[in-house]
C-alpha cells in the first residue's frame, strides 16, 4: 500500500451480473462534467471533515475515485481547485436562497420562518465550510479573490428577500439594510460560537430575543408588539 496516486477502484466497476448493459457510451462533455462535479463536491466534503489546509490533492483524488493526474487535468493546480470548489459551493447556496425567495413571494414564509430557515443554514455544515474559506481568504489572495464576488452576490439575493419581507419602510433611510446585515452578523457569530459551545437552548433564546428586538425596532412586521 505505497502508491497514493492510483484511483480508488470502487466507482464504475461493472460486476459480472449485467451483460445486457454495455458501458453506456458517454460523450466527452458528459464525462468531464460528472467528474468535475464529483471532484468539487468531494473537495467541499473533505474541507468540512479535515479543514481547508489539511485537504490535499491526493485526498481529493482518492475520495473522488480518480487519479491525481486526472484531477490536475481538470484543475491545473490545487489553488484553482479550491477556488472552483468555493464558487461551486456558494453558487449552489445562492440557488437555494432563490427558492426561499420564491416561497416568500408566494406568501408561504414570514419573517419568523425566514430567520429560522437562515439559522438552520448557518448552523449546518455549509456554514462551517464557508468559515474555512473565509479564514483562509484573510491571508490567501487566491481564495479571497474567489470569495468576494460570490459573497456579494449572496448578500444581494438576501437583500431582495428582505425587501420583499418588509417593503413599508420609507421613513428611515437604510435601516432595513442595516437590520439585514446585523441579522446576518448575528447568525454568523452564532454559527461560529457553535464550534466551541454547543447549547441549543441558548441559541434558540438568542433567536427569540432577536426576533422580538426586530419587531420593536421595525414596526410594521407581521408580528405583533412584543415589548417585554
Amino acid at each position: 500500500m505505497k502508491d497514493m496516486n492510483g484511483a480508488a477502484s470502487g466507482g464504475a466497476g461493472r460486476s459480472s451480473a449485467e451483460p445486457a448493459v454495455p458501458p453506456r457510451r458517454r460523450t466527452q462533455a458528459e464525462r468531464s462534467r460528472t467528474t468535475q462535479q464529483r471532484l468539487l463536491t468531494v473537495t467541499t466534503e473533505l474541507v468540512l471533515a479535515k479543514g481547508l489546509r489539511d485537504t490535499s490533492t491526493v485526498d481529493v483524488a482518492q475520495a473522488a475515485g480518480v487519479s491525481r493526474g486526472a484531477l490536475l487535468h481538470h484543475y491545473p493546480s490545487r489553488e484553482v481547485l479550491m477556488q472552483e470548489a468555493l464558487r461551486h459551493l456558494l453558487n449552489g447556496e445562492i440557488n437555494e436562497i432563490k427558492v426561499i425567495a420564491a416561497a416568500i413571494r408566494a406568501g408561504d414564509m414570514d419573517v419568523d420562518g425566514f430567520l429560522s430557515e437562515m439559522w438552520r443554514r448557518f448552523s449546518g455544515p455549509l456554514f462551517m465550510i464557508t468559515m474555512e474559506f473565509l479564514t483562509a481568504a484573510r491571508t490567501d489572495p487566491a481564495i479571497r479573490e474567489a470569495l468576494i464576488p460570490v459573497a456579494l452576490d449572496y448578500n444581494r439575493q438576501l437583500d431582495e428577500i428582505w425587501e420583499t419581507l418588509m417593503p413599508e419602510m420609507d421613513g428611515i433611510e437604510g435601516t432595513r439594510r442595516i437590520a439585514l446585515n446585523a441579522t446576518l452578523c448575528l447568525l454568523r457569530g452564532m454559527g461560529a460560537q457553535s464550534i466551541w459551545r454547543d447549547d441549543p437552548q441558548l441559541f434558540a433564546d438568542m433567536l427569540a430575543f432577536w426576533k422580538t428586538s426586530l419587531g420593536n425596532m421595525l414596526p410594521g412586521l407581521s408580528n405583533e408588539e412584543a415589548h417585554p
Copy 2:
C-alpha cells in the same frame, strides 16, 4: 541559503563599542521566560500574518531569532506550541478585560462605551488570530482542547462586566445572559464580515442599531428611550 535551522543572527549582536557592559549575567529562569515569551508572541504574530496552518516551526524560530532546536526544547512539538500560544493570547486578553471591568465598576464607562470598546477589539488583529484558532479547533482536537476552557473563562469575565452594567433585571430570568451572548455573536459576525467587506459606515450603523435595540429591550439602562 539552504539551512533553515540556524537562528537569524540579528538579535543580540554586541557591537564593538561597548566594552564596559559584560553580557549582563542573567539567571536561567529569566532566560527561559524571555525566550518563551518571545516565541509565543512571535507565533501569534505569524499566525496573524500567514494563517495558522501556514505558520511552521521554522518560521517561528527564525522570526524569534532562535534555532529550531531551541524552540523544540521549550515546546516539544508544534502542537503544544500552538496550544500555548493560544492560551497566552486569550489569557492576556482576559487580563485586559479585567481592566475594563475595573473601569466600569469605577463608573468610568457605560454600556455605550463598553460596546464601542468591544467592537474595537473584535475588529482588531486579536480577533483575527482567535478566528484562525477557532476554525482550526473545529477539526483539530488539540486546538479545541486548549480553546474551550479559556473561551469559557473569557465569557465568564464578560458576564461579570455585564452584570455590573445592568444589575436591575430581576424580572426576566436569564434575559441578561441572552442579551450578552447575542451581543457577542453580533460582534463576532461583524468581525468576520470585515474580512471580506470593509465598510466602516455599515459597521457603525449596525452598532448604533444594536445599541438602540438594547435600549428598547432592556429598560433601565443609562440610555433614554430611543424608539425610532
